[in-house]
């Protein structure tokens, strides 16, 4: 019966010790638990705990005040514990020094020293079992706590690293998002959140993500969305299999490019036109001088010819000057209209006269279609003539050389809106790409850079035409299909 009592006692101690250790989160908690258990057996004056740190040096991590031995005095006992790897009682002054190492796989993790005031003869054999248990069990718990701390530390380090990289990514202007295969958003940086991408943008990103998963490659795209230019780029991350999409608003860059180009074109335009002034001016000057120097000797026919040339060159000069004025008016928006009543059909016929050479050169046929005998409208005759001329010459210039028959026609008819006449210039030329529709009226705009080299022109025609029609409060209607042809129309009020 006595041995059963000993086992009961042992089990009680073990269970309360386990309970104490269960809540232990720090090393010191474990030592507190040990001390609590030890106090059940021993009359303990004070405690001291030494632990081995990473550099294999020993240091005191806990020492009760009044503990009789100094750190240096304790070191030989640490050596003893390390050597024996078991607990000992050592006589010290009036009491005993309990040396209790905690063990993990034969390694001494720490040494707990207790100064006991018991009469040594009171020690029981069963206490040894308890001490042995504490020695091994707490070693295990301490080791686990150490590992737990290591995991926590590494988690902190990882957290710090993550923050560091997040900060870096957040400081970028590019909006970065990472997507998984089922198009779920996995990661975003601050720029992405700030950019607050709308459905359209997200749609484009998702398309790119799908594309990247399909072709397993980097993909890039530049897209204009609601007046902003965006540059998209994708990178496959590999592991995990996710796609990183970077998005940048390059509107400013684009705008700058456009302004630079505009400036360049303007400079070229001015220098070209200045140069063109010289040619007719030189001719006028030369003929005028000849007439002055040999006025008496000139026969009538030659004189007439010379005068004609001077007149022609003057007209040419005037036209150049008008173009220059148009340009500056366009720049300043200072165009003024001289309103009068005139017949649109007449104007078209006038234009037809002026484009004969061009029609021959480009091998384009021209026709006028109308059921009306006359279409008298109110407006600036010269300007409207200019508009018709621009539309028609464009229709000829942007012919489709691939087609066997090339034509351009002007149709004049009553508008659906009452009291108006609509003029349309229709061709079977190359057409205008859908996305360029709203650009063709910009100054110096050329749909395709390759066209710049194949089609002559200042790039001002349509811009000037739009300005003129705007002044007339007339809308320009453009219908075009790439490869099929275009139609430019405008309506003017009938003269009363």
């Amino acid at each position: 019966m006595q041995s059963e009592t000993a086992i009961d006692r042992f089990l009680t101690i073990v269970s309360s010790f386990s309970r104490e250790l269960n809540t232990a989160r720090k090393t010191l908690d474990v030592y507190h638990a040990i001390v609590k258990v030890l106090r059940r057996f021993f009359d303990i004056h004070s405690f001291c705990v030494l632990e081995q740190n990473a550099q294999t040096d020993w240091s005191t991590i806990w020492s009760d005040s009044g503990f009789p031995l100094s750190f240096e005095e304790l070191l030989p006992f640490v050596e003893l514990a390390k050597e024996r790897r078991s607990f000992s009682f050592y006589p010290l002054d009036e009491g005993h020094l309990l040396i209790l190492p905690t063990l993990k796989a034969g390694r001494v993790v720490s040494v707990l020293m207790g100064y006991l005031l018991n009469d040594p003869e009171e020690f029981l054999r069963e206490n040894e079992s308890v001490l042995g248990f504490i020695m091994f069990f707490s070693g295990l718990v301490l080791e686990n706590l150490r590992l737990y701390q290591e995991v926590l530390d590494s988690a902190t380090v990882q957290e710090g690293l993550k923050k560091y990289f997040q900060t870096m990514l957040d400081s970028m202007d590019e909006a970065i998002s990472v997507w998984d295969e089922s198009q779920r958003l996995v990661f975003t940086n601050q720029s992405y959140i700030r950019s607050d991408p709308n459905e359209k943008v997200v749609g484009i990103i998702k398309n790119l993500v799908t594309q990247s998963y399909e072709n397993r490659n980097r993909n890039s795209l530049e897209k204009e969305i609601e007046g902003h230019f965006y540059s998209f780029g994708t990178v496959l991350l590999g592991s995990p299999d996710q796609v990183l999409v970077s998005m940048e608003d390059i509107s400013n860059t684009k705008e700058l490019e456009r302004i630079k180009k505009l400036d360049q074109i303007r400079t070229e335009f001015v220098s070209n036109i200045s140069h063109e002034f010289r040619t007719p001016l030189a001719a006028i000057k030369a003929y005028a001088e000849t007439i002055r120097d040999s006025f008496s000797s000139l026969d009538e026919e030659t004189g007439q010819q010379f005068m004609m040339t001077i007149l022609e060159q003057s007209d040419h000069l005037e036209e150049l000057l008008n173009r220059l004025l148009d340009f500056s008016k366009l720049e300043n928006h200072t165009m003024h209209l001289e309103l009068e009543n005139f017949d649109l059909i007449e104007q078209v016929r006038e234009v037809e006269q002026n484009i004969q050479k061009m029609l021959e050169m480009y091998e384009v046929s021209f026709s006028i279609e109308t059921d009306l005998a006359k279409a008298v409208v109110s407006g600036d005759r010269k300007r409207i003539n200019q508009v018709i001329f621009n539309f028609v010459t464009n229709a000829i210039k942007y012919r489709d050389a691939e087609k066997p028959e090339r034509w351009a026609k002007v149709s004049i008819e009553e508008s659906e809106e009452e009291g108006k006449v609509t003029l349309s210039v229709i061709d079977n030329g190359i057409g205008i790409p859908q996305e360029c529709m709203d650009k063709v009226f910009e100054k110096f705009y050329r749909v395709d850079t390759s066209l710049t080299y194949t089609v002559e022109g200042t790039g001002l025609g349509l811009a000037v035409s739009k300005e003129i029609l705007d002044k007339h409060h007339a809308l320009i209607m453009v219908k075009s299909e790439e490869g099929k042809g275009s139609s430019f129309s405008f309506s003017l009020p009938k003269a009363e």
């Binding site: 024996r84 000992s88 050592y90 005993h96 034969g106 054999r125 042995g132 295990l140």
Partner: protein
């Protein structure tokens, strides 16, 4: 050979010294106090001096000499005192039995090797019952000693056959149909009333597949580890510990083979 007859023969074996037996019993009892152990040990002056010698040995490296028996017991602990008492008894009464034919000294070295290797392994793998493993290792082959002392011819025959056939000692016993050393150990330890742990180690170390409900299962199982090759390990692994035990307790170097 009749096992019954050999039981009577066992009576002729030296009984453990009364005081030693009492020391073992007291040191093994859970309810024993240091005072009780102290009272018993103090009756054997030879044992007292050995205890003091051990406590003051360089192995323990104590800063101050221990002169009181109580202090020595406190430093060494109950289990060490018990192991020491049993070691002394085994060495003095059993293994130093004079016999021309037998190589009991080698058997002693084997036992001591198993004991120290067992203790070392227990220490390394964090098995808290290392003193128990030492004790079991030391006495696990006590049956063979009994065979050797009581029936030297039988012992000699088993050794010779096992060497010739390349069988283990245990298998040779089985093949020859003689009472095994486990059976001898069982009878002896029953007679001496030794702790259950020791008797399990001595009587069941070849039949480790069934211990019933004994709580000492893992101790005896652990004993198999050092027995795998104690002769190969003993010099390298346990030389120091073995020399320590031999020199300190027995005053002579028993570790080096003849």
């Amino acid at each position: 050979m009749d096992l019954k007859k050999s039981v009577q023969q066992i009576d002729s074996l030296p009984s453990p010294d009364f005081i030693l037996k009492k020391i073992v019993d007291t040191a093994s009892s859970t309810s024993a106090s240091a005072k009780e152990l102290n009272d018993i040990v103090s009756k054997d002056s030879g044992f007292v001096s050995k205890l003091l010698k051990l406590a003051n040995s360089s192995y323990y490296g104590l800063p101050k000499k221990v002169s009181k028996l109580t202090e020595a017991i406190m430093i060494l602990g109950f289990k060490t005192v018990r192991n020491m008492a049993l070691s002394i008894f085994a060495n003095e009464q059993l293994f130093s039995f004079k016999s021309e034919e037998l190589e009991l000294r080698e058997l002693w070295i084997h036992s001591l090797s198993v004991a120290t290797i067992g203790e070392t392994i227990a220490d390394r793998i964090g098995f808290s019952n290392k003193e128990e493993l030492f004790l079991c290792g030391l006495l696990h082959d006590i049956g063979k000693t009994v065979q050797g002392i009581l029936f030297p011819l039988l012992f000699d025959a088993i050794v010779k056959v096992s060497r010739m056939k390349g069988w283990t000692y245990y298998r040779t016993e089985k093949e020859l149909g003689v009472p095994t050393h486990e059976q001898f150990a069982e009878m002896l330890l029953e007679k001496w009333n030794f702790p259950e742990l020791v008797s399990l180690a001595a009587t069941r170390h070849h039949r480790t597949d069934d211990f019933g409900s004994s709580v000492y299962t893992d101790v005896v199982l652990s004993l198999r580890l050092p027995r795998i090759s104690p002769s190969g390990l003993n010099m390298a692994t346990t030389g120091r510990a073995r020399r320590f035990w031999s020199n300190t307790i027995f005053g002579k170097n028993l570790a080096s083979p003849r």
